[in-house]
Amino acid sequence: MASLGKNLIEVRDLRQSFSGQEILRGVNLNIPSGETTVLLGQSGGGKSVFLKHLIGLIHPLSGSIKIDGEEIAHLAERQLEPIRRKIGMLFQDGALFDSMTLFENVAFPLRERGERSEKVVREKVARSLELVSLEGQDQKMPSNLSGGMRKRAALARAIITEPACILYDEPTAGLDPIVSDTINKLIRRMQSQLKVTSIVVTHDMISTNYIADRVALLREGRIHFDGSLANLHSSTDPVITDFIEGRSHEID
């Protein structure tokens, strides 16, 4: 993995459209290694779509995506597998496998990567579940968990293989403030202790203020702002101030 200070991910002129509607109109963004980058933007603005490009779940119409210097934009499914092993992803609704218990879900990435020792699997799963405060719930099925618990379980699954980079798709959406705070602290801890590069897609400003090293704002398919958290708050750009203060221009 790239050393600190370098860019882990470089995206150039990324374009995507679905059924004739342009979602991304030339996104340019660098994600520095070892930092937490928050990608802000309105709902339906293409943030999740952008995130899925970074792990090759969606192929771009045009443009370049380099991960650790390697171009992935046009790699075939099997060629993407080594890249995906370095990256963890937390999906918006968790995307837990509903045919498996919570334990099996969290253990899944370990077993798929050839971990045969049941003792090691148990220890790692227990530690992962403890990190997201889900100890003792490991025999429950995903359908018996609340939305917040599912999301935390999915986070436990994403971090269990200790990836160098984690993509978070709306990690705190729909969670109560206390659980949100737990998730925020966890993201912060991953960054400070393990030097994990994180990309967090959100529109939660409390979360952004707590976790972000850098902030990018996606607007109308392009990066409207890209800078530090301090720069974001000192900006006088009305688009940014409206977003931070949650102001729409609808008339009452």
């Binding site: 597998e81 992803m89 918006q92 609704d93 496998f97 509903d98 798929e112």
Partner: protein, 263 residues
């Protein structure tokens, strides 16, 4: 050379065949390269094969029984009641056994495969698999394909066995056909090649059900409505394909295993 599609249906059909072809190619490449998760294959054999037995047995018993009765009513008028055995047996081996098993399995297993994979698709579980560097074909399609290839010929055999048992009881106990003549004629006119034909057809129908089900599941979109639509389509497409392919299989296999005579 430039292709142009005069009708949208032609285009959709070509696209569909293309998707199925890629899925088949990807699946068999994985099977030949040994990317088989045997634990999942065993689970699927239980789900698909073991779980389908009741449906297949009931289908076999009542088809055998009713077919025997009808043949008897016609043949008895011509004083040929002992020919019921071979007629029923050959019809079951060469056509009814594999086709009816195929249709029942398409309804039960094809629908289940499509609904499960389709739900995984719309809830991002397929994306989660891919993000965890697990190929969905290796994890979902290969185990189901291997399980179907093993289970389906066995289910066809089971269907035929129970159908013939029912036929024997109906003919000899209810319709008073002489049991010795019934068995004697059945054994004499039914050959190994008829059974080989049944199992070959079962194997082909297994592939139709599993690939149509998986393909429909993997291309599901539009939430719960989409899952419902894909599942219906999976059952309809695989059932119709079984009926159509069956005709061509019969014609083709009859060249290799001609009807009548000794094997």
């Amino acid at each position: 050379m430039k292709f142009s599609y005069s009708f949208p249906l032609t285009r959709a059909f070509s696209l569909y065949l293309g998707q199925i072809a890629f899925l088949v190619g990807e699946t068999f490449t994985s099977i030949f390269l040994g990317r088989i998760r045997w634990r999942l294959v065993l689970n699927q054999i239980v789900e698909i094969g073991f779980g389908s037995q009741a449906v297949v047995i009931v289908t076999g018993i009542f088809t055998g029984a009713v077919f025997t009765a009808q043949i008897f009513f016609q043949f008895n008028a011509l004083n040929m009641s002992t020919a019921v055995g071979p007629v029923v047996s050959i019809a079951l081996c060469r056509e009814l056994g594999p086709v009816l098993t195929g249709l029942m399995v398409a309804g039960r297993v094809g629908a289940a495969i499509c609904a499960e994979i389709g739900t995984m698709k719309v809830t991002e579980q397929i994306d989660a698999l891919r993000a965890l560097a697990v190929h969905p074909v290796d994890y979902l399609v290969v185990p189901r394909t291997v399980a179907m290839m093993i289970s389906m010929p066995l289910l066809v055999g089971e269907c035929i066995f129970f159908a013939l048992t029912a036929s024997y009881y109906v003919a000899t106990r209810i319709l008073n056909v002489n049991s010795v003549f019934f068995m004697q004629h059945m054994w004499f006119y039914t050959h190994t090649k008829d059974m080989v034909m049944a199992l070959t057809k079962g194997f082909v129908f297994a592939l139709i059900v599993v690939f149509v089900g998986c393909q429909q599941g993997l291309t599901t979109s539009n939430g719960a409505v989409g899952v419902g639509r894909s599942t219906t389509e999976a059952v309809v497409i695989s059932s119709l394909t079984i009926l159509m392919i069956n005709f061509f299989l019969t014609m083709g296999l009859n060249i290799i295993f001609p009807a009548g005579g000794k094997f």
